[in-house]
Point group: C2
Chain length 351, copies 2
């Protein structure tokens, strides 16, 4: 059939997420999910959910969820913006806040969705090289720009940029919105949330997918001043009024209110991460100093692509990025101690 409409179509190259294999025997260390289940309160809430209410639209404002987040983060409710995963939150932030002729700045090695969003919306951007040690250099961001986005800890490196350095970037860019994507902050480092009341150009983005073990519910949120939030809310309500569903809202409420479980869970992951770094380094790897729930590591005696394929053949999936500067590294999600022991065993067999 002829395609006479083809000129009207937007044709883009999408972001490609990590593999989602169906085989349940696979040890899945490739998408930075939590190896532990979410808070048991989530289970109770789902089991007790009155399914008849699903006939109704969800709560528009998610007041209860916002109240719980507001207490946890010590910010007012009107500074909280909720979205369908932190990816949607970020996508809407890019659409709302990055409308300048000057380029948006972000590191050359970082979450690979940032340039995808820029391309989708025709936003100019400039990738700022990280150092040879993969560190973000804050003063490189002290120049004219149309916005800044920094993942902290950064992905896929896991490196944390000190709180003071983040503050310097925010302070030196009062003409732009600075987004700090803190998807992994709960695994180390200090959140920039406490700076939101001090700087009106700062947006901090969090997710339920990592430290709260709820990647399956698709809930993320931004903390930002109420004026910026109102612009973001208006764009969101011009795109989709109800981005969160009733079941996920309930699950998120319960998860966010179970602080004890959350602490226990992240402590276990931090402890396994530190053990992982030591063991990897003892068997010939050089591993970056991760503050996240994954490690970024390179082997001195074997190519990363080879290790990736070898592990895959042993039903262990990690992440390999075939990209300049990082194509000899593996990103390995922190699993349970049992899963990591299996990984170490296979790596030793291979080397």
């Amino acid at each position: 059939m002829e395609r006479k409409w083809i000129d009207n179509i937007k044709i883009v190259e999408p972001y490609i997420p990590g593999e989602q294999p169906k085989d349940e025997n696979i040890i899945k260390l490739n998408t930075n999910e939590c190896p532990y289940p979410p808070s048991p309160l989530v289970n109770d809430a789902i089991k007790n959910f009155d399914y008849g209410n699903l006939r109704l639209y969800p709560s528009i404002n998610c007041d209860r969820l916002k109240s719980i987040i507001s207490e946890n983060y010590n910010v007012s409710k009107d500074m909280i913006f909720l979205g369908n995963g932190s990816d949607e939150v970020l996508a809407l932030c890019f659409m709302t806040f990055f409308n300048s002729d000057k380029p948006v700045l972000f590191p050359d090695i970082t979450y690979s969705f940032y340039d995808v969003w820029c391309k989708l919306y025709n936003i100019k951007y400039e990738k700022i090289p990280v150092s040879d040690n993969f560190e973000i250099i804050s003063k490189d961001y002290f120049k004219e720009n149309g916005g800044i986005v920094i993942a902290n800890p950064n992905a896929p490196t896991g490196l944390y940029l000190e709180f003071e350095e983040i503050e310097e970037i925010v302070k030196n860019n009062e003409k732009s919105i600075v987004i700090i994507d803190e998807a992994y902050i709960d695994f180390g480092g200090e959140s920039a949330v406490s700076l939101v009341n001090k700087y009106n150009n700062l947006v901090v983005v969090h997710t339920f997918s990592k430290s709260r073990a709820l990647a399956g519910i698709r809930v993320g949120f931004a903390i930002l001043n109420s004026e910026l939030k109102s612009y973001l809310e208006a764009v969101k309500n011009s795109f989709n009024s109800y981005t969160l569903n009733s079941l996920s809202i309930t699950a998120a409420e319960k998860s966010m209110s179970d602080l004890e479980y959350f602490q226990k869970c992240r402590e276990k992951i931090i402890s396994t991460r530190n053990r992982t770094i030591n063991i990897l380094n003892s068997i010939g790897f050089k591993t970056l100093n991760s503050k996240s729930n994954f490690v970024f590591t390179t082997c001195q005696n074997q190519k990363a692509s080879y290790l990736y394929e070898y592990l895959k053949s042993k039903k262990i999936i990690v992440r390999f990025f075939d990209k300049p500067r990082i194509n000899n590294y593996l990103r390995i999600t922190i699993g349970t101690d049992y899963q990591m022991d299996k990984l170490f065993e296979e790596l030793k067999n291979c080397l």
Copy 2:
């Protein structure tokens, strides 16, 4: 605090959805929700859901859900695009398919999100007036355009445009993508889905929110040829990889597979609707010939705005649009027979 960044912000007027009152004693006839609960299979699926799996990202492709939809609609799986409510599906369709210098066409009286999306993306548009009887005139759409979107049955009128007229619009616009938004088609009329294999410029959009009583899960879908679907999928994956959550996917699967419950439910609503039209007309209203789960009606002896406020004071909420041409009409969702009897009683008291 100074706002030196203000020029970089996109400032828009959002779509305003119907009220969502919290008072459970209210008879809520304002947002076209289903008065009956979803299929009981949905309840079983939620109760039996293994909450531990929520730690994982949802299925990327939703294969099982697509298979069930594919069987129900007799189309191949690669013609199905899923989104976070039909609003997200439509929002992404506008972004993907409407990139022309020519205006997108839609009726002047229709779903009020269409012009909101055009404004959000800076898409040119032209509103084509419906007739004095609120009918869409198909030949008015036989002219140069950058795309067409028609709600069928239309909202808030509930009027159905005959299948043959829809086909004429699609056939006479081979240079544009024609979107038929069939949110209400299950309550009357024939779906245009059967035309998707015949015309490669047609996109048909459906939702779980109305006839499947699942507004709370936020799932909608489009049926379109696989090439168009691949462009839409790429844009979606450039915006948000995982727009559907695991619980909603499961609920949608169960709902879509319970054909018997679905039929029973829509028959009840159709029967209550026809009774509603008769009763309203017998007490001084003029009601359009609705093929949807709501009626659009005007009272010969009393202003719509007055009736709206009166009903609200009696804890019955209907929808009133303070807009040209329709500001003497009420849009009333079909509830249970009990709820409608309460409505008739209050209207009789008022008149």
